[in-house]
């Protein structure tokens, strides 16, 4: 009897004690796109050990759907996630929109934390008025991927490819003559990387800090001229990135080089061209260019319900070395956290790249990358520039005229 009563009492007491704890149990929603959603899910067990009272619910959508949903959520103030993953291409718009928490302010006080990340990522997440809208988690340091076997067959060396942009084109001509393989997928790729390289710190691709349009600067003229030279030499395959033909070209080895973020290595080894193991190599971009392809950030919407927990989670994902390394190991998400980049993992040779220590090259590229200021009119300016480039490449339009027309159009559209 006594024992039974004790048990009942104990159970009741337990229930009483547990009740408040249960009430405090909160669910943190994290909205993300592939493969960020996978990275978050993989980190949940470790998170639960630290914070058993906070459950993580991952809302994953396809890349474009995710950003449309986030745009809509910011617009209407409804259906907010507590933590929002944002890709670099959308960050400018979101940062200027004013729907995200300023992480410099209390209670976040991220001023002391930003030094821990690759320095150039912070300006990307900073709005024109100096608010920090998001924290970087992964980056895409850009390098030149090339097919060592094809290039060697043509008697071309890595320094031939990277010495200068002119030597890159020359090497392409030799490769085409000797092997029939194209140098690049599309002449546009050359322009895209050149207009992103050698920017002054804080300068945007198309606009400077005071919204002046920069498309008539020598940077663009040179980039257009070289794309034109590549097209005239018939060393570009006229293939758009992410098309079926593009992936097919990796499988068949019909294009010798690809300039891209470090994550392309994972795509090549796992899906695009697993059979080409040992044939690819990594080198710096031509002419000492350094650039970054994309990047992922975490932000907290102003209307989020669990801001404190959201901030803890963001710090957990971005400042914990183990999480950053795990994301890199499993999903090729190059860590934005500088501390994570000194891990021994970076020293390992990669079999896919002929035992080359490619990660060290990516790390060095990341160290040398400079900040690019993002502008909310960047997508529009990019479309205008690409259209004018089409005219130069396909219709023989004069480069200076094309850039002048582009500037006129950008000024007209961006004034609105």
């Amino acid at each position: 009897m006594n024992k039974r009563r004790q048990i009942i009492l104990a159970a009741l007491a337990g229930a009483v004690i547990a009740a408040p704890a249960q009430a405090e149990q909160i669910t943190l929603t994290v909205a993300a796109f592939p493969a960020v959603d996978q990275i978050v899910k993989a980190a949940v067990p470790a998170w639960k050990k630290l914070h058993p009272e906070i459950d993580i619910k991952v809302v994953s959508r396809e890349y474009a759907d995710h950003h449309n949903a986030m745009t809509l959520a910011l617009a209407t103030g409804n259906n907010h996630a507590d933590v929002m993953a944002v890709e670099l291409g959308f960050l400018g718009r979101f940062a200027e929109g004013g729907g995200l928490e300023d992480l410099y302010k209390a209670p976040y006080q991220a001023k002391n934390l930003v030094a821990k990340f690759e320095p150039w990522t912070i300006p990307q997440a900073t709005s024109n008025s100096g608010e920090l809208a998001a924290i970087p988690t992964d980056i895409g340091p850009g390098t030149l991927f090339y097919r060592h076997d094809i290039v060697s067959k043509a008697g071309v060396t890595a320094p031939d490819l990277t010495r200068s942009w002119d030597s890159f084109i020359e090497a392409g001509k030799r490769i085409k003559a000797a092997t029939g393989v194209y140098l690049v997928a599309h002449a546009r790729d050359i322009t895209e990387i050149m207009i992103r390289s050698n920017l002054k710190d804080g300068e945007g691709i198309y606009f400077d800090k005071d919204n002046n349009v920069l498309v008539e600067t020598p940077r663009f003229v040179h980039a257009f001229r070289l794309a034109k030279a590549a097209r005239e030499a018939k060393i570009d395959a006229k293939i758009n990135a992410w098309s079926n033909e593009w992936t097919e070209s990796f499988k068949r080895g019909t294009v010798a080089t690809q300039m891209m973020g470090a994550w392309l290595g994972g795509h090549l080894a796992n899906t695009f061209a697993p059979a080409a193991k040992g044939l690819w190599r990594v080198a710096d971009l031509p002419a000492g260019a350094y650039a970054s392809w994309g990047g992922t950030f975490y932000a907290i919407p102003k209307k989020a319900k669990n801001k404190a927990a959201a901030w803890e989670f963001i710090k957990f994902m971005t400042l914990q070395k183990d999480n950053q390394i795990a994301a890199f190991k499993n999903h090729d998400a190059f860590p934005a956290l500088v501390e994570a980049q000194s891990d021994a993992f970076f020293e390992q040779p990669l079999a896919y790249f002929g035992e080359q220590k490619a990660r060290l090259i990516w790390r060095e590229a990341s160290r040398r990358t400079r900040a690019i200021d993002v502008n909310k009119y960047d997508p529009l300016a990019a479309e205008i520039i690409n259209t004018e480039l089409d005219k130069v490449l396909d219709q023989g339009k004069d480069v200076a005229q094309a850039l002048a027309d582009a500037k006129k159009l950008i000024v007209k559209r961006a004034r609105r």
Binding site: E96, Y377, R416
Partner: protein
């Protein structure tokens, strides 16, 4: 009397109430059954239309939230009308509508006539085969065509290159692989062909249905009068098909002006080299979701609506006038 009445009163009123309730039920029931549709229609039909009209007078990037919405009057409309991309997209749309729409009918009418006269029992099977493209997912169809049109690995270029090797006729075909998707001059016919391929069967079914309503007696009478097959087609079949032509042409005009899926999927959403197949519907989509100009996109959608309405009216004028003239002619006779 009083007693009886007093005794009956409650019964009567109860009856009345019952009748009233039944009458109300009968009146309300249709509305109750309609409610799910009406609610959905109001939410997803009426509201977006009115909201886009409202938006077209505002400047708004949704990333800015409600507070970022500014009233700008007709500025979005004047911007769109002065925007060279808008006109370019309209021109692309018109060209694609014509390139894909006209052949649809020019092929569908003789094809329907042929199916009508030459097939008996197997007709349904053949018609079904022609109809399949129409009910297949546009995205799947376009992805398949993307593979066919591929410059280096596509079947179409492989076939052309093989044909070029033939003696005599070989000279008519290109000796180098055609860059179907990369060159503006080629991508427009390529898109038009996909649209044509998708809708020619649908139009054939329309015309076949119309052909089956034409009385046999007319043909018999014509034959008695010594009219040949060609004369029968020209003087009986074609005039009696006119109402269906009007219907088919109207559908083609509306569908052609709203063209979106095929060029969007084929060009990865960009609209092709030099925006050669950037249709107005695509431009509207990109203005909103890529360039963040929701107000301008709404204005473009309303301008497109006006253009479609005008062209539908014009189609009606062209096909309708003949009917009126014919009726008048009959009256005079």
């Amino acid at each position: 009397m009083m007693k009886i009445e007093a005794g009956r009163m409650p019964a009567v009123s109860q009856n009345q109430r019952k009748v009233q309730w039944q009458r109300w039920q009968r009146r309300a029931a249709p509305w109750m059954f309609l409610t799910p549709f009406v609610v959905l229609f109001l939410c997803f039909g009426v509201f977006p239309i009115l909201f886009s009209l409202f938006l077209s007078f505002h400047s708004w990037n949704p990333a800015d939230g409600w507070a970022g919405m500014k009233f700008v009057g007709l500025e979005n409309f004047s911007f769109a009308l002065g925007d060279e991309w808008f006109w370019k997209s309209l021109w692309n749309t018109a060209l694609l509508a014509l390139l894909s729409g006209l052949p649809q009918h020019l092929v569908a009418i003789p094809l329907a006539y042929f199916l009508h006269t030459s097939f008996k029992r197997s007709r349904n099977l053949v018609v079904g085969a022609y109809f399949v493209p129409y009910i297949t997912s546009t995205v799947a169809v376009t992805l398949m065509f993307t593979a066919l049109f591929s410059t280096d690995f596509g079947v179409i270029n492989a076939a052309l290159l093989w044909l070029a090797k033939l003696p005599l006729v070989g000279g008519l075909f290109p000796v180098e692989a055609v860059d179907w998707i990369g060159k503006p001059a080629f991508i427009q016919p390529a898109v038009a062909f996909i649209v044509f391929w998708r809708f020619v069967g649908f139009n054939t079914v329309l015309y076949l249905a119309a052909l089956q309503t034409i009385p046999k007696e007319l043909y018999e009478a014509a034959e008695m009068d010594g009219a040949g097959k060609w004369q029968q087609f020209w003087h009986i079949t074609l005039p009696l098909l006119r109402p269906m032509m009007f219907f088919g042409a109207t559908l083609s005009v509306i569908g052609g002006l709203q063209l979106f899926d095929e060029p969007f999927v084929l060009t990865g959403g960009r609209g092709g080299a030099d925006q050669a197949v950037l249709t107005t519907a695509m431009y509207m989509f990109r203005s909103a979701f890529e360039f963040g100009e929701y107000g301008a996109a709404s204005a473009i959608s309303w301008l497109l609506f006006v253009i479609i309405a005008l062209l539908s009216w014009l189609t009606h004028k062209i096909f309708g006038q003949h009917d009126e003239a014919a009726e008048k002619g009959e009256q005079h006779a």
